[in-house]
């Protein structure tokens, strides 16, 4: 099993951390960009102020002189032309097409950003009084270079963060998975019926250790309850059967009343059957879904029990049919299955009358083995269908007709079916009673 959830969580955490870091870096980037642009603008302003002062003193001549002096640094773009757009001074020979002159003074208004010869510039363009075009600009290349390396750094950091997140996440998922696998293994063992299974070794002092401790405490409790249930049924058996045993011994000493003693013995045997059925039902219910089942040849058990009851049914005048596919295997308890079939068939024989039919079919249907016992007898009263498998359910008509029973037979059938994970149902039929049991294949 993959640690899907843990992996998702780790991926989410890594993404969240990376996104937050990138957001913080983005804000910083904006700040740096603004500051650097401001610094360039300030330098440009200083330049303009200087040229303005010179222009104040000696107009174009002073300006031409100053520009010629500075034109060679490369970080600036300077150009002064005459009325006919002939160069008077500056680093450029021709006017850059990307910028058009605006205004005629040395103020810091209308600063333009433009592209020229492969790089970005920040500058002002004017036409000075008398028709002299002037361009003063500062290069934005250093700013761009700084920002570019900043971007590269951010990308690299983001990548590293994601990779680290992935590594840490998968490691965390793996370690969490190992811890959870221990508990899952335990749960599997318990589900297979081993209530004594525990996680070996000491539990660590963390939340998983705490979970293991809690699961262990829970299992201890279940095991104790289960043991107590078993002990209780043993005790009930002992406390009931020991005095009955003494009674039987004493009955043997009574002479001259064989009928009465036989009746008393039959009553005792009956009482024991009721208690045994109750204990068998609770035992089968307690063991439900648990282990302890062995491969059983269901076909063989069905054939044996049928063989045991068929003469009884024939003697009663029932028409019997057995349709049993050979070698169908299940995981089960042979004795319980035999008891269940015996209860069902005995029940059917008890209620059917001469001339009724009784058929038992066992065949494979899809992923299951399907066992169907159908009779053409009186069936179940409609109001009893839902409660038929409850303990002590008896039809009033049986009590009137004097048919003996305790209403435990079908309850035991249901408990044994559940013990085997088999599905028990009463399909709707036109006449009689049909019981269907679907057994999981081995």
């Amino acid at each position: 099993m993959k640690a899907r959830f843990t992996l998702k969580l780790a991926a989410f955490m890594a993404m969240a951390v990376s996104l937050l870091s990138l957001l913080a870096m983005g804000l910083q980037y904006r700040l740096v960009e603004t500051r650097l642009t401001e610094a360039t603008t300030a330098a440009l302003n200083a330049d303009l102020a200087g040229y303005a002062a010179l222009y104040q003193q000696r107009r174009i001549i002073a300006l031409r002189q100053a520009i010629n002096d500075r034109a060679s640094t490369g970080a600036e773009l300077l150009l002064l032309q005459d009325r006919n757009h002939t160069r008077l001074a500056g680093s450029e020979t021709a006017w850059p097409p990307a910028i058009t002159p605006q205004g005629s003074d040395f103020s810091t208004n209308a600063v333009q950003r433009f592209h020229h010869q492969g790089s970005d510039w920040l500058g002002v363009a004017r036409i000075l009084p008398g028709g002299f075009p002037l361009l003063v600009a500062r290069s934005l290349t250093p700013v761009e270079a700084t920002l570019a390396s900043l971007r590269k750094g951010m990308a690299a950091l983001g990548g590293v963060l994601l990779a680290a997140g992935a590594v840490v996440g998968s490691l965390a998922a793996k370690s969490v998975m190992t811890r959870i696998a221990r508990i899952n293994n335990l749960a599997d063992q318990v589900a297979n019926g081993d209530l004594t299974a525990r996680i070996p070794g000491p539990s660590s002092p963390d939340e998983f250790g705490l979970l293991e401790t809690h699961v262990h405490a829970m299992l201890d409790r279940i095991e104790n309850l289960n043991r107590a249930t078993h002990r209780l049924s043993d005790t009930i058996a002992h406390e009931l059967r020991t005095p009955l045993n003494r009674m039987v011994q004493k009955l043997a000493q009574i002479e001259g009343q064989p009928e009465l003693t036989a009746q008393l013995k039959a009553e005792m045997r009956n009482a024991i059957r009721v208690f045994d059925s109750l204990l068998d039902i609770s035992r089968a219910e307690a063991d439900q879904g648990g282990g302890g089942l062995l491969p059983v040849d269901l076909s063989a058990v069905v054939a044996e029990v049928w063989d045991l009851y068929e003469p009884l049914a024939e003697d009663k005048g029932l028409i019997c049919t057995l349709n049993c596919a050979p070698d169908l295997q299940i995981l089960g308890d042979r004795n319980l299955i035999a008891q269940m079939l015996s209860n069902l068939i005995d029940n059917a024989i008890k209620y059917c009358a001469q001339g009724d039919s009784l058929s038992l079919t066992l065949q494979t249907s899809g992923p299951q083995h399907c066992l169907i016992l159908a009779d053409s007898g009186p069936g179940l009263p409609a109001d009893l269908r839902d409660a038929a498998f409850e303990r002590f359910t008896r039809a009033p008509r049986d009590q009137e007709r004097g048919i003996k029973g305790h209403g435990l037979g079908l309850a035991l059938v249901r408990a044994i079916a559940a013990r085997h994970g088999a599905k028990l149902s009463l399909p709707e039929v036109d006449a009689g009673l049909t019981v269907e049991i679907l057994w999981p294949k081995l």
């Binding site: 043993d234 009931l240 009674m247 011994q249 008890k350």
Partner: protein, 231 residues
């Protein structure tokens, strides 16, 4: 020639039941030794007893759990578990853990006698491998799985053959319905109705039609296979 009586060990904590079992044992002509705790019983078990009657919920533990220990200590006796843990599951558990027979309490004195006799007989019959069992005019061929009366073949079903074989192994003794259900059908629960009677009745009719009255009803608890007495 007087021989020493067979010895039977009774491991049972309830004195009343122990005494009842002991009186049945003496009734069979055997001598009874009683142990009231499990350790005491285990210590005695290695002696030359023919049968050990073993209770389960004893002071000192569960008798069934001690069977392996007794065997390991050299007990060679047949073991009959006699216990209040009498549900089918308990019986199967006891037999799986090495008991030779399992009788739930409360038990009928006749049932106990029948079981003890069968075990005593099994102890002597072990190792014998007779293919042909002859009871006067009645012959049972074990390997061919056929029954003949006065040299005439009697058709029996496979189950009926197993039934007559079990009767033959216990010829002359009472065999109870519970014993038949356990040994012939290998079922360890009380089905409530006497299904066994129907089978015995059919076999009996077949034998009678062929001229043998070998199977007789024993008053009370079961049947006797007595082919020689009933000619």
């Amino acid at each position: 020639m007087p021989t020493a009586p067979d010895r039977i060990l009774i491991i049972e904590d309830d004195p009343e039941i122990a005494e009842a079992v002991a009186s049945e044992v003496r009734g069979l002509g055997c001598s009874a030794t009683i142990a009231t705790t499990l350790p005491e019983g285990i210590a005695l078990a290695a002696q030359d007893f023919r049968v050990i009657v073993l209770d389960r919920m004893l002071p000192g533990g569960d008798g069934v759990e001690a069977i392996a220990k007794m065997r390991a200590l050299g007990a060679g006796a047949m073991i009959l578990v006699l216990s209040a843990l009498g549900r089918a599951a308990n019986r199967v558990e006891g037999l799986e853990k090495g008991a030779d027979d399992y009788l739930p309490k409360p038990f009928e004195p006749e049932e106990l006698r029948a079981r003890l006799r069968a075990l005593l007989r099994r102890a002597t019959m072990q190792g014998q491998d007779n293919d042909l069992l002859v009871f006067g005019p009645l012959e049972i061929r074990m390997k061919a799985r056929t029954v003949h009366i006065n040299r005439a073949h009697v058709a029996v079903s496979p189950k009926e053959f197993e039934l007559i074989s079990y009767f033959a192994q216990n010829a002359g003794q009472i065999v109870t319905r519970m014993q038949l259900l356990e040994n012939v059908w290998h079922l360890h629960f009380d089905p409530g109705t006497n299904v066994v009677d129907v089978h015995v009745g059919r076999l009996r009719r077949k034998l009678e039609e062929a001229g043998s009255h070998a199977i007789q009803t024993a008053r009370g608890e079961g049947y006797v296979f007595a082919p020689l007495a009933a000619v």
